[in-house]
């Protein structure tokens, strides 16, 4: 009985839906996290009787056919690239990106990854790094005795050094844009890498060519919406249950058939 397999695809899809929701809820307070969404499509159909087939010698055309579907498939779990809310922290190395774009991070192996998490730190050499110690591009080194670190909207980092009354610009954060943000591959630790689907990275500066602007002293919060996730969770759980009921029904019908033979 095909209904068993069809319902099984439904259960597998709902299982994945719950996994995605669990990932979103677990990351509700992860800085710069972008929520994921499972997207489903129906599977192929068996056209038992085609629509429009000739029904009689007189040329009557069937107005309806018989189409039997074979279930559901997951087509992807794209991320929703909407802006997260900005949380004021007052920390001078916390930078939030408002608008499109990514911070460019150099990994220890020399490759580049991209992140929306702007909770930066200073390492022992004064360089601006992520919480995991990877260098934010371009490398900006803060002199040891500098005070009054400022990051402006365009991402220019400036400090005041002792003995000087004017501030000195140390560098400007690179903001990278992609044609398809949803095509980036998540690496964990809030980092993403480019893929053929994302398009090539376009390095630029904050506030130009469509890139967002920076806000010092703020962090971009996760864009997960608890209410949406919970209502999706309820729906997924019920859908899972209904699919299992279909399996029970198919099983009962098979049992009935089996009992016919004595």
């Amino acid at each position: 009985m095909r209904a068993l397999d069809t319902a099984a695809t439904g259960m597998a899809a709902m299982d994945l839906q719950v996994q995605v929701i669990a990932g979103n809820i677990a990351n509700m307070s992860t800085t710069g996290f972008k929520s994921q969404r499972a997207e489903f499509q129906d599977l192929i159909y068996e056209h038992v009787q085609r629509i429009g087939a000739q029904a009689s010698d007189q040329g009557n055309i069937l107005p309806v056919g018989i189409e039997l579907g074979s279930g559901v498939k997951t087509v992807g779990t794209p991320r929703l690239m909407t802006q997260g809310a900005l949380l004021q922290t007052g920390n001078q190395l916390d930078v939030a990106l408002q608008g499109d774009g990514w911070f460019k991070i150099q990994m220890p192996d020399g490759t580049f990854t991209y992140t929306r998490d702007g909770s930066f730190k200073q390492d022992s050499q004064g360089r601006i790094v992520t919480a995991e110690g990877n260098i934010v591009q371009p490398t900006i080194t803060i002199p040891q005795n500098a005070t009054g670190l400022t990051v402006n909207n365009q991402g220019q980092v400036s400090v005041t050094v002792p003995g000087s009354t004017t501030s000195q610009i140390l560098g400007q954060f690179t903001i990278t844009r992609f044609t398809n943000n949803a095509g980036l591959q998540a690496q964990g630790s809030n980092l993403f890498t480019q893929t053929p689907a994302s398009g090539n990275p376009q390095d630029g500066l904050a506030g130009t060519d469509g890139a967002g602007t920076l806000q010092q002293g703020f962090l971009e919060q996760s864009n997960v919406e608890a209410v949406t996730e919970i209502s999706n969770l309820i729906a997924a759980q019920r859908a899972y249950e209904m699919n299992s009921k279909v399996i029970t029904a198919a099983d009962e019908m098979l049992q009935t058939t089996a009992q016919l033979m004595r």
């Binding site: 629509i51 189409e67 469509g210 016919l260």
Partner: protein, 258 residues
């Protein structure tokens, strides 16, 4: 008498097929833009087994036949997502997409941008604007899709809106003629040509059309199916008993003297 078995069997086969359809509907209860299937049954009258020369009138035997499935084209619930690339169609129309198999029609408006900057479905099929894909530039941002489907963006540092195309909509006078093609798309068979969308059709940006499967109705129908399946099985087994008894009693040869 054997007719009873066959009539019962025709009903069971039809019920089995309907359960398969319900299984597909329930499996797609969370598929964006999915349209539920329903079955139609009809009575199939067997040709008379008798000739006119028989004395008593023969009753014609009627069987059940599943004549067809049809697609419930009612709109699904519209869910707000806030994602600028999600579109829901308010009205009786479809988005036109270009697949490897040819032009297809879909109500699933969960759109994406691919690496080449083209507007695509989550399957990677291009969403069409008058037969050509809608392509974005590298510096495009703030994508806005208007109620009539016009896609505008802000390009680079400019604050002016630049158009990128219009979502092509198609409608069909009789959408039942469309065939489901998997991947949430419909195919127009030969001879069925799309019309432009009727007046009043609107595109809603930041929202998505959910599946129109009604879980309660499907569950109720499923209970009905299992119950009638069991009932028919009972009738068939009674019929079997009847025949067994008849055979055992009729075959007892009368003993001498009784």
């Amino acid at each position: 008498m054997e007719n009873m078995l066959l009539v019962g069997l025709s009903r069971q086969v039809a019920l089995g097929q309907e359960l398969e359809m319900i299984a597909n509907n329930v499996a797609n209860i969370d598929t964006n833009g999915y349209k539920a299937d329903k079955t139609l049954f009809s009575e199939f009258l067997s040709p008379r087994a008798s000739d006119q020369t028989f004395n008593g009138r023969d009753q014609r035997v009627s069987f059940v036949e599943d004549r067809g499935t049809f697609v419930n084209m009612a709109p699904g619930a519209i869910q707000r997502t806030g994602n600028p690339l999600d579109v829901a169609i308010d009205g009786n129309a479809f988005l036109v997409v270009q697949t490897a198999r040819g032009q297809r029609y879909t109500r699933n408006g969960a759109l994406q941008i691919n690496g080449a900057g083209q507007l695509v479905t989550s399957n990677g099929d291009q969403v069409l604007n008058n037969g050509t894909p809608i392509t974005f530039q590298n510096t495009d941002h703030n994508i806005v899709i208007s109620g009539s489907g016009i896609v505008t963006v802000q390009e680079g540092n400019s604050t002016a809106d630049s158009p990128r195309g219009t979502l092509q909509l198609a409608s069909f006078p009789n959408p039942q003629l469309l065939e489901k093609d998997g991947a949430s798309t419909f195919m127009a068979p030969a001879g069925v040509n799309p019309n432009p969308a009727p007046a009043g059709t609107a595109i809603v940006q930041g929202a998505i059309e959910k599946s129109n499967v009604n879980g309660v109705a499907e569950m109720a129908r499923m209970i009905e199916i299992t119950r009638s399946y069991t009932d028919i099985a009972n009738i068939l087994s009674q019929e079997g008993d009847l025949r067994k008894n008849a055979l055992s009693q009729l075959s007892q040869a009368p003993t001498a003297g009784s």
